[in-house]
């Protein structure tokens, strides 16, 4: 009799333990476990005994431990916190200790439970509303709004000017190569000088060697002067002529090298 009674208890315990295993999986965190446990007190959440709840939770965790159920860290954190809360609630307040009282902490936990329950109820009410596609339906035959697109092309005067400038600038680079009527190249100057140095017996200002028509126009004169000067340097290097300048900005003079 006794034995069988013991067996029955053992079976019941095992079933309870298995239920617990299943339940742990089903729980949405420690607060959810607390909320479920609070229902066993069969009182309004506002009248709940937090102390009793803390004990229930701690025994839940103990049971899980004996059954070697791995509880997630947050369940253990909650257990530790509830153990602390329990001690706060049971022991007379220590006047030297700062921080919230056990009652404050308990009240907050009660608030959290009530709030979670409130949200659960709200979620249920929400899902019970007339949902689209289940209770209420949208139009079956819809008409798409046809978009007639009228494309209007636009351009501003600025676009036009930039476009033109773009083309013209492209042009300008071409003439830079071809359009050399105002530029005397060193080769041209050199060619001219080679012919002329034979006549340069004495010191002569290089300006007098500028080709015809290159001395009046300032732009042409500048270009021709530079080219001619470069050409004289070349000829001096070749040893064909000698150059001299008496002073800064004084005329540069050349003469045929006598030795050659």
């Amino acid at each position: 009799m006794h034995d069988s009674q013991f067996d029955t208890d053992a079976v019941a315990e095992r079933i309870a333990a298995e239920t617990l295993v299943v339940d742990v999986d089903g729980y949405e965190g420690p607060l959810d476990v607390l909320l479920s446990l609070s229902r066993t007190q069969k009182v309004d959440l506002r009248q709940i005994s937090i102390l009793q709840l803390a004990e229930q939770y701690l025994s839940f965790v103990e049971k899980a431990k004996t059954l070697r159920i791995e509880l997630a860290a947050d369940y253990l954190v909650m257990a530790a916190w509830l153990a602390f809360l329990k001690s706060r609630l049971l022991l007379p307040p220590d006047p030297t200790e700062d921080g919230p009282s056990g009652e404050d902490l308990a009240a907050h936990l009660a608030f959290q439970l009530e709030r979670l329950q409130g949200m659960r109820d709200a979620a249920a009410k929400l899902m019970a509303l007339d949902q689209l596609g289940r209770d209420r339906f949208v139009r079956g035959i819809t008409e798409a709004v046809t978009h007639r697109k009228n494309v209007t092309y636009t351009a501003t005067l600025l676009d036009l000017m930039q476009g033109y400038a773009r083309i013209r600038t492209k042009d300008e680079f071409r003439p830079f190569v071809m359009d050399r009527d105002a530029v005397l190249s060193m080769e041209q100057a050199l060619d001219g000088l080679r012919h002329l140095i034979g006549f340069a017996g004495d010191w002569t200002d290089i300006v007098s060697y500028l080709p015809e028509g290159w001395s009046s126009d300032p732009k042409k004169r500048r270009s021709a002067t530079a080219a001619t000067f470069a050409a004289t340097l070349e000829l001096a290097k070749e040893g064909k002529i000698e150059l001299r300048q008496s002073d800064t900005f004084a005329p540069i003079e050349l003469r045929k090298k006598r030795d050659s």
Binding site: E114, G118, R120, L126, Q131, D135, V145
Partner: protein, 225 residues
């Protein structure tokens, strides 16, 4: 503003009865809610769709289909008591997990709400998948960032959410008043955390104000601005 007065006199708006027909035609043609702004854009110049909607809504009162307001938009939906006729049209709703349903409710009732606030209420971490699923359903979206350290994003419910659950605005959520009266929508800081949470307090109260004070849609528009 000034443009309006001369143009109103230049182009005479159609009679209100005609405007009502137009709104009716446009709403019937669309499965999605149509905003008053869009109605205005599609109707002849000078039309007053908001006024026409009032007439139209009254006309469909008690009919098999209803003219309903969804946020700032309007739609025609079958009356809920006709659902039994609609087996053929019934859409298989994606089965939402308990976590997803609770998270949705928390966002709806507490919006704008941050992820850590959701976690604080549920007492458990919110998985990325849950948020993703709700975002995917277009029932929630990102609200404006909370002006607290870290500037966390907030979540708010969408017009599709309102449309799906047949709500005109988030203020019409069932049981909202009771929850509020019971103080359960307050973000009450845990005792002892006072310092840390004290900083957040103003913004928390902002959140409440946003939910009850302004329309959630208005707030969303502010965000866009």
């Amino acid at each position: 503003m000034d443009d309006h007065i001369p143009s109103d006199s230049l182009f005479e708006a159609p009679p209100m009865a005609e405007q009502e027909r137009m709104v009716e035609a446009i709403l019937f043609a669309s499965a999605d809610p149509v905003s008053v702004r869009e109605l205005t854009g599609r109707m002849p110049h000078g039309s007053d769709p908001a006024q026409a909607l009032v007439h139209l809504q009254k006309r469909y009162d008690g009919r098999g289909v209803q003219v309903v307001k969804v946020g700032q938009a309007w739609a025609i939906r079958t009356a809920a008591d006709m659902a039994f006729l609609m087996q053929r049209e019934t859409v298989e709703l994606r089965k939402l997990s308990r976590a997803a349903i609770e998270t949705l409710a928390i966002i709806a009732y507490h919006q704008p709400v941050t992820r850590s606030e959701i976690e604080e209420i549920r007492g458990v971490a919110v998985s990325r998948g849950t948020i993703d699923q709700l975002l995917d359903l277009e029932w929630i979206k990102l609200g404006r960032r909370r002006q607290t350290p870290g500037r966390p994003v907030t979540f708010v419910v969408t017009e599709q959410f309102l449309d799906h659950f047949g709500l005109e605005s988030a203020r019409d959520l069932p049981g909202l008043k009771e929850l509020r009266a019971a103080g359960l929508l307050e973000n009450r800081p845990p005792p002892g955390d006072a310092l840390q949470d004290g900083e957040e307090d103003p913004s928390v109260e902002d959140g409440q104000d946003e939910l009850f004070g302004n329309d959630s849609t208005e707030q969303q528009e502010q965000e866009i601005d």
